[in-house]
């Protein structure tokens, strides 16, 4: 089944550095979303980018989407220790006329103070 596949699986950086995570998917989408999961918590929505958009910003977050390559990237600038979490991309998989957010394994980000 279609799902976003995040890369790398794990990323370890120092506070202040930028963190880049990538997501690849298999079939056409209407939108792609990025979520964050802190340890032991549920997922929290970060940003949604539609298939006709190429770039979107929200605070320190920058998301790009390349539908020709079926890939997206999430950039977190000037990272903070509090950004330590797992990050997931979700694509809208069509099923029976509905769309279901479909996730991958996520990227585990550790930001060292």
């Amino acid at each position: 089944s279609q799902q976003g596949e995040e890369d790398p699986q794990a990323l370890s950086i120092q506070e202040g550095e930028n963190a880049t995570m990538n997501c690849s998917y298999k079939t056409s989408i209407n939108n792609l979303q990025w979520y964050r999961q802190n340890s032991g918590r549920g997922l929290v929505h970060l940003i949604l980018i539609r298939s006709n958009e190429r770039e979107k910003h929200s605070g320190r977050l920058r998301v790009t989407l390349d539908t020709s390559k079926k890939s997206s990237s999430l950039l977190i600038t000037a990272s903070r220790a509090a950004d330590t979490a797992s990050y997931f991309c979700a694509t809208d998989q069509s099923s029976g006329g509905s769309y279901i957010p479909t996730f991958g394994r996520g990227t585990s980000l550790i930001v060292h103070p």
Binding site: R41, G42, F88, Y99, I100
Partner: protein, 113 residues
């Protein structure tokens, strides 16, 4: 107010038992979901449900069944629990399926012993 709440947060039970996890959302969303997150953090869709349609991931054993008494609730019933059912289960909700952001509950960690 918690937008999506699920109970219990932790559930430890013996093999063969039947258990339920409850989920309620107060956001007025029309679609609710159940996801299973394994030890490698892979988030797998189990069910998607709105007041018109139940979509079941065909890989989910029929020991799992969703029950929706009304639009704001989607409970998960599990019969004859097995060791492999141990995981974290997340309830989520959204408007209009995957075309908008999903809101997640805090998760239920199920341990089958």
């Amino acid at each position: 107010d918690t937008a999506v709440s699920q109970t219990p947060k932790y559930l430890v039970t013996q093999m063969g038992n039947d258990k339920s996890i409850k989920c309620e959302q107060n956001l007025g969303h029309d679609t609710m979901y159940w996801y299973k997150q394994d030890s490698k953090k892979f988030l797998k869709i189990m069910f998607s449900y709105n007041n018109k349609e139940l979509i079941i991931n065909e890989t989910v054993p029929n020991r799992f069944s969703p029950k929706s008494p009304d639009k704001a609730h989607l409970n998960l019933h599990i019969n004859s629990l097995e060791l492999g059912d141990s995981a974290v289960y997340f309830c989520a909700s959204s408007y209009g399926g995957g075309v908008t952001e999903a809101f997640f509950g805090q998760g239920t960690r199920l341990t089958v012993v």
